[in-house]
Amino acid sequence: MRHCSACGVDVEGPWTRCPLCATALTGQAAPGPFPVVPLRFSRRRVLRMLALASIAVVLVSFAVQLLFGRDPAGIGVLRSVILGVGSMWLVVLMAVGTRRNVAKGTVYLVVLTGLVCVYWDYLTGWHGWSLAYAVPIVCACSVIALAVTVRVMRIEVGEHILYSALTVVLGLVPLVFLALDWVRSPLPSAICGALSCVVLALFLLARGPEMRHELAKRLHL
C-alpha cells in the first residue's frame, strides 16, 4: 500500500498523490475498493427548464389573443395558426410527461383539448361548436379508446381504474350542457352521455370494490 508521509496515512488505490493533501506517495500501489466511474452529465434540468419556458410562451400567446377583436377579418388565419401550433405543442409535452401512464395521459388529453376548444370557440365569436361537437366527441372517444387500450396493453386494474372512471365522469359533462340548453344540436351530447351512463353502470357493477380500494388508497388522509 502507498503511504503519505505528510498525513501519516496509508492509501489504497491507484493514487500517485495523497487524495487528502496532494503530497507525492511512496511505496507500491494496492488495488482500491472503488471502480473508476466516468463522469456522467444529465440534461434533465435543461430539458425541464426548456419545457417550462415553452409552456409559458404558449400560455402567453394564448392570453394575447384576448387583445384582438373577435372579428375574423382581423387576424383570422394567423389566430388559428397560433392556437393550432400552441395546442399541438401542449399536447406533445403532456404526452411526454405522462408517457409512463397511458390512462393518466388520456384524462389529461381530454381536459386539455376540451379547454382549448372552448377557448378557441370563445375567441372566434362563440358559435357553440366546441360544446355541441368537440367536447362530446372527444369525451366519448376517450371512454372507448381507454377501454380498448387497457385491454390491449394489459394494464393492471389498479393502475387504470381511477383514470377510466374519470374519463367516464368527464363523459357525463355533455349531459350538463344538454340540461342547461347550451347546445344547438343535441345529438353528440346525447350519444356521449348515454354511452357514459352505460359504461358507468357496468363499471359500478363489475369494478365497484376495486374502485373503492383504489380511492381509499389515493385519498387516504
Partner: protein, 481 residues
C-alpha cells in the same frame, strides 16, 4: 384479481421525498468486504432468498392525492456490477422501480437504498441476512445448520463508546427464529409508539434503556430551550463536484485505538469523532469569522428504546452544537469539545426526551388542517422546512456502531462500510471485525476537513488507511493512466 398491499409512508420518510435533489438523492449504502472476490451467481441466489423474506423491499413508491404510499410489486431485484458512483439516485417519480439495489465490486457486497424505504439499522438487517445466505452458499461445508446460529450479541459492553444512543446495535431481532421471519408491509413504528397518548412504557424498553445509560440525567438539570448559541452557524462551502457525485473518502482504523481515545476523555465514540470533525472543520476553514457555532445532526436509532422489528425508518435527529470563542488554539484538541458535546447530547438522547419531541412532531403531522393539504403543497412546505433547518447545520454524523454478523458470515467479512449522499460534509461510521470505518461524503471536491481529521487521529497514534473515489476530471484521467 390482484389487489396489492399498500401502506402510507411514515413520518420520517416524507421529508426524504421532499428534500431530495440532484446533489443529495437521499440514498445510502452499506457494504461488506469479504475475504474473497464476490461470486455474482451465488450473490444473486442469496439476494433472491433474502428478498423473499422482506416484503417491505418489494415495495414501489406511489403518489396519492394527500400522501405518498408504498405498494407491493412483483419486481425482482438483480445483482449488478458496481458501475455508478456511490449513492447514485434510486427513486424516480412515476416509475415503478424497486427502492434498493444490490451490487458487487471485487470483494465488496453493496446494498444501496432510497432512505424513504428504510434506515441504516433496517438496511443492516437485510444486508446481514443476505451476506449470511451468501457465505452459506459459498462455504457449504462449514455451515452450522439453521437454528444453531449463535444469537446476536447486542454488545452493551462497549457503551458508552459504540453502544451509545448515537449508534445502532446490529442486533438482528429475528436471528433466533431466523429463516422464518417475514417483514411485512406494516404500519410504521412512529405511529405505533407515538401517535396515541399512552403513558405506559413498552415492556422491557425501560429496563433496557436504563441499562444502556451509564449516567442517568439529573432531574434538576436546568433545561432552557432558549439557551441557543447566539452566534451564526458556520456552514462549509466549496467547489461542487462536476457531475454531482459525492466526494467519498473512507478512513479505516483499528477500532480499539479510536475507542481508547474516546475512553480517555470519558465520552462516547460518536461524540469524540464529532468533536474531531468540528476541530477539522475549524482548522480547514479560512477562519470561522462571525459564524463561530458548529452544529452537527446525529440520528438516534429509536429501536433501542422502543423495541421494533420493523425495518422501516425509525430514528430521531438530535442536534449538538459547539461555539468556539476567539481564544481557541491553532492545534486540534478534540478533548474539551467532545466532553461538552457529550454533556449536551446525553439529556437529548434519553427515551423521555425523544418521546416528547416525537409526539409533538407527530401531533403536528396529524393536524386535520395539514392532512387535507394536497401532497404537492405538502412537498413544498416540507422542502421549505428542510431548507430552513439546513441553514442551521454545519455537518452531519451517523454511527451504526459495532456490528456482529451471524456465523458463518462474520468470520468471512472484514470491514463494513456505511456511506450516505450528502448535501453538506458528513461522515458515517461503523465497525466490524475490529476495524472502524469512517466514510466521509461531501458535495464539494475539497478534502481539507478530511485531511485534518486524519491527521488529528494519526498524530494520536491511530493507524489510518485512506481509500478515496475519483471525482474530478483530473483524478479520473490519472487513474486511467
Amino acid at each position: 384479481m390482484t389487489r396489492r398491499a399498500w401502506v402510507r409512508l411514515d413520518n420520517a420518510s416524507n421529508i426524504f421525498l421532499a428534500a431530495r435533489n440532484d446533489i443529495d438523492p437521499k440514498v445510502f449504502r452499506i457494504s461488506a468486504e469479504l475475504d474473497h472476490e464476490v461470486d455474482p451467481g451465488l450473490l444473486q441466489q442469496a439476494l433472491d432468498a433474502t428478498y423473499e423474506r422482506y416484503r417491505l423491499y418489494h415495495a414501489v413508491l406511489r403518489r396519492g392525492v394527500f400522501w405518498h404510499y408504498l405498494q407491493d410489486s412483483d419486481l425482482r431485484p438483480c445483482v449488478t456490477l458496481e458501475d455508478q458512483h456511490t449513492c447514485a439516485p434510486i427513486y424516480r417519480p412515476d416509475r415503478r422501480e424497486l427502492l434498493f439495489r444490490v451490487m458487487h465490486h471485487r470483494r465488496r457486497i453493496i446494498l444501496e437504498l432510497f432512505h424513504a424505504l428504510s434506515d441504516g439499522t433496517g438496511a443492516l438487517w437485510f444486508l446481514s441476512d443476505m451476506v449470511e445466505a451468501y457465505v452459506r452458499l459459498r462455504h457449504p461445508r462449514q455451515v452450522p445448520g439453521p437454528g444453531q446460529v449463535p444469537a446476536q450479541n447486542d454488545d452493551p459492553s462497549d457503551a458508552p463508546a459504540a453502544g451509545g444512543p448515537g449508534s445502532a446495535s446490529a442486533g438482528n431481532p429475528h436471528t433466533e427464529d431466523l429463516v422464518q421471519t417475514v417483514h411485512e408491509l406494516t404500519t410504521d413504528s412512529f405511529t405505533h409508539y407515538f401517535r396515541r397518548r399512552r403513558r405506559q412504557e413498552p415492556a422491557g424498553a425501560d429496563a433496557d434503556a436504563g441499562a444502556r445509560r451509564p449516567a442517568p440525567v439529573p432531574a434538576d438539570r436546568p433545561r432552557n430551550p432558549r439557551r441557543k448559541p447566539r452566534t451564526k452557524v458556520y456552514r462549509v462551502t466549496g467547489t461542487r463536484t462536476p457531475d454531482n457525485r459525492p466526494r467519498t473518502v473512507e478512513l479505516t482504523m483499528p477500532a480499539d485505538q479510536a475507542l481508547q481515545l474516546a475512553r480517555a476523555e470519558g465520552v462516547s465514540l460518536t461524540m469524540y469523532l464529532t468533536a474531531v470533525f468540528f476541530e477539522s472543520i475549524r482548522l480547514s476553514s479560512p477562519g470561522l469569522g462571525r459564524a463561530r457555532t458548529l452544529v452537527a445532526s446525529v440520528p438516534v436509532n429509536l429501536r433501542q428504546f422502543f423495541p421494533s422489528t420493523s425495518p422501516r425508518n425509525f430514528f430521531a435527529i438530535v442536534r449538538v452544537a459547539h461555539t468556539y470563542d476567539e481564544t481557541t488554539p491553532d492545534a486540534a484538541d478534540p478533548g474539551p469539545v467532545s466532553r461538552e458535546l457529550e454533556r449536551r447530547f446525553r439529556p437529548k438522547a434519553t427515551p423521555e426526551a425523544l418521546e416528547k419531541s416525537l409526539r409533538r412532531l407527530i401531533r403536528f403531522e396529524r393536524m386535520p388542517v395539514l392532512r387535507i393539504v394536497p401532497r404537492p403543497v405538502k412537498d413544498v412546505l416540507l422542502r421549505l422546512i428542510n431548507w430552513i433547518s439546513n441553514r442551521r447545520l454545519t455537518v452531519a454524523v451517523s454511527n451504526l456502531g459495532r456490528v456482529t454478523l451471524p456465523e458463518p458470515a462474520d468470520s468471512h467479512v472484514r470491514r463494513m462500510l456505511f456511506h450516505v449522499s450528502a448535501v453538506r460534509p458528513q461522515f458515517c461510521a461503523m465497525s466490524h471485525a475490529g476495524l472502524l470505518t469512517i466514510s466521509f461524503t461531501s458535495p464539494f471536491t475539497q478534502t481539507d476537513h478530511i485531511r485534518e481529521f486524519a491527521r488529528t487521529l494519526t498524530s494520536r497514534g491511530v493507524d489510518v488507511t485512506v481509500a478515496a473515489a475519483q471525482v474530478t476530471e483530473d483524478e479520473l484521467k490519472e487513474s486511467r493512466r
